[in-house]
Symmetry: C2
Subunit: 237 residues, 2 copies
DNA sequence: GCTCGGGCGCTGTGATCACAGATCACTAGC
DNA sequence: GCTAGTGATCTGTGATCACAGCGCCCGAGC
């Protein structure tokens, strides 16, 4: 072997396939709420939009369907599921349990570096939320960053994957409402809960961190349910 | 519309695609441990074995890969991941948290019918485990049935999906060990924990149910880790 | 004897084609 | 006028082909 000192730290040039790219694109569309519940999706059209053949899109969609993030309606139509109030509440309860646990564990195990990141993101979110003209897109992104900064400190990769999928499922519903409402109130709540969570993690107080995250999720869910946009389960559409 | 009284209760003739079938087949292979960590998988060979083209197998495998149940090695080889001790322990801790919560919730909300099912399965498992010549395949299946009978009573469909995926990830490792060991000890432990869980669910004692399930998972994980089959994380294979 | 090089065969990935099912609009018939 | 049938056109699903990358094995050269 000749001198590969220079080769040692090559950035492992990413082996992203088109399928992965398509998946990431769709996931982003869902997480940011640009795809709303009930929106239909066509493989061929999406493929054309991405500028690829149907194959990669097809596999990406297949994955999303398997995760329950998308669904194929009986008429062979792909769409983002329309969640009833009950289903949404089940999802919220699951999130409260899973993300609450992750937050509690993060409080116990966080390193100083992780705590620093959490502080920074929380400050950024607060600044954005309290600004005169908050950028909703950016606020949503920062909210997500903050939550995952916290969960990332739990040290359980499998749990992180689970939470990622839960956010994908909840994303469309949450962001749909968040897109068309005053949201002042909601953001006020979020700020309070986020501060509580940060403080609890600083103090290594697991239960308090779990409670803060749970309250955050519950408040958002209650807010959305109170708007009554979600249909009860009754047949189709 | 003419008389569709006779049509009203048609069993909705299942719209299973070949992809779904292939997925189910692979999932079963993984859950039952017939596919061990490190085993390689070829799309074309699998397709030939199933008697279909590569397409359905390909999508099924793609889903499994997205879930982390399978992985594609850099050499473009599909295999079931080789888990290090650390990764396995992370998985176990995640399972303890998630399944423990599900069990606790099941204890609070179980109906009489669900309790009956749990009792029946537990009895069947006990009978099989205590029989002179226990059928391992059947014991594994009954163990799985019992756990899911419990979790099914939690009333949270999203949580059930999560647990299903966790079992898929843990399946190969657990069943691999279970396939080649005396296992008497392990089964004895499982019996005790299962009885505790059943009793806690009967008494609607959530924390006790969670503790019993946690102990069950922990005991199995400790047992496997103690055998030292799992490699520590050090490069590849 | 050991090592390096090149061809062969396999791999997953992507594109393209073929098909059955389902929706929709239009039209013929009561 | 309204309904029922029928064809066009979309849908996802499955099969087949094309390709680039990689492992492997065998043989030539030092």
């Amino acid at each position: 072997m000749e001198s590969l000192a220079a080769l040692a730290d090559l950035p492992q040039l990413d082996r992203r396939t088109l399928t992965d790219t398509a998946y990431a694109a769709l996931a982003d569309l869902l997480a940011s709420g640009r795809l709303a519940p009930g929106d239909k999706l066509s493989l061929r059209r999406s493929a054309a939009a991405f500028g690829v053949s149907v194959m990669p899109v097809r596999e990406a969609v297949s994955r999303l369907v398997a995760e329950g993030v998308l669904e194929v309606a009986p008429a062979r139509i792909i769409r983002v599921p329309i969640m009833g109030a009950e289903a949404f509440w089940c999802l919220a309860e699951t999130r409260i349990a899973v993300e609450g646990f992750a937050a509690a564990r993060a409080a116990d195990r966080r390193t100083e570096a992780e705590l620093d990141t959490i502080r920074q993101v929380e400050t950024a979110f607060r600044a954005e939320a309290e600004s005169r003209e908050p950028d909703r897109i950016r606020a949503v992104q920062l909210n997500r960053d903050l939550h995952f900064a916290i969960y990332g400190a739990c040290g359980l990769p499998p749990l992180l994957e689970i939470i990622g999928r839960l956010w994908l499922k909840a994303g469309p519903v949450i962001n749909l409402d968040l897109r068309a409402c005053p949201e002042r109130l909601h953001q006020g709540f979020a700020l309070k809960r986020h501060a509580e969570a940060r403080a609890a993690i600083e103090a290594r107080d697991g239960p308090a961190a779990a409670a803060a995250i749970a309250a955050d999720i519950r408040a958002a869910a209650d807010f959305i349910l109170s708007r009554g946009t979600l249909r009860e389960e009754h047949g189709k559409d």
